[in-house]
């Protein structure tokens, strides 16, 4: 089954790339953009068919490799 992992920077961690995107949007004429935060999505295709088990595995993957929990949050969802 497919599992999606959303990885985002924790609140309070400065995101220079988000800031650059915000500036570029402003330059394109999009008014009223108060903030931009950039993250990433990781799509996992797992042989596991049990949703709970697949999410548990994905959680372990996040803790061990996929996210740097010093600066990033992760959220697991089923596709």
């Amino acid at each position: 089954m497919k599992i999606l992992v959303d990885i985002t920077l924790k609140i309070g961690v400065l995101d220079p790339q988000g800031k650059a995107i915000q500036h570029a949007l402003g330059a394109l004429g999009f008014a009223g953009v108060d903030g931009v935060r950039q993250g990433k999505v990781i799509e996992l295709d797992l042989t596991e068919t049990d949703r709970a088990a697949a999410e548990t595995t994905a959680r372990a993957m996040c803790e061990k490799l996929l996210a740097n929990t010093v600066i990033e949050n992760y959220e697991i969802r089923s596709a």
Partner: protein, 223 residues
């Protein structure tokens, strides 16, 4: 002084590091491939070089930190071994948990490549004992993700325990508190973004970088 340099796909200045160790100690450095399961016997120091290991995929240093050899490096450090991580090596040491904090994209978003002045912050480390606190040395930097992040608590701990090894005289990347390099709690693991091994011969423009390797050699000799 017996040294080893870990080599990953995408490492750079690994040969320069080996030359720096050989010049300071008179002993050839061992090059260790990342897929090796264990380190050579009897090592005094392990170095993680700069570069772009595994193409900086996922996060800088993240994949390299989980390479087979790194488990041995972590054990070596935990047993009191000396480890130095330079540039990408600093990122790897943070990713494998030997040093705290995080290194993020430079605040200016640009890759920074130039010689910079570093201010020595402590003489109390095997890497800086031949240097003088407050003195500036010139060392090249070349990185895109050298913006050191630490929360207030960690910053207080690093400052309180005298674990900031170097600060930038002119901060190139937005690092908190101008931090360019930090030490582990036992002071035997050093991570730094600048490249001392690149300024190790008058023909390359200077020898300020050699002082770190001479410090290390001197501390080994007296140990």
């Amino acid at each position: 002084m017996k040294s080893a340099v870990i080599v990953f796909p995408g490492s750079n200045c690994d040969r320069d590091l080996a030359v720096a160790f050989e010049r300071s100690s008179g002993q050839k450095s061992e090059m260790v491939w990342h897929k090796d399961a264990s380190l050579p016997e009897g090592l005094d120091v392990v170095a993680i070089p700069g570069g772009f290991s595994f193409g900086d995929y996922l996060r800088c240093g993240a994949i390299a930190a989980r390479a087979p050899i790194m488990q041995s490096v972590v054990e070596f450090a935990k047993k009191g071994g000396h480890v130095i991580g330079i540039c990408n090596g600093f990122q790897v040491l943070i990713e494998c948990g030997l040093l705290p904090g995080a290194l993020m994209r430079n605040s200016g978003l640009k890759f920074v490549c130039k010689d910079l002045e570093l201010v020595i912050q402590t003489e109390n480390s095997p890497f800086t004992n031949a240097l003088t606190k407050g003195v500036k040395i010139s060392v090249p930097v070349a990185h895109h993700d050298g913006n050191y992040i630490a929360d207030a608590e960690l910053l207080a701990e690093l400052n309180g325990e005298d674990r900031v090894a170097f600060r930038y005289a002119d901060n190139p990347n937005g690092s908190v508190d101008d931090i360019a390099g930090i030490l582990s709690a036992n002071r035997r693991v050093l991570g730094m973004m600048p490249h001392p091994e690149r300024l190790n011969d008058p023909a390359l423009g200077g020898t300020d970088g050699a002082k770190l390797f001479e410090s290390l050699m001197a501390s080994m000799a007296t140990a």
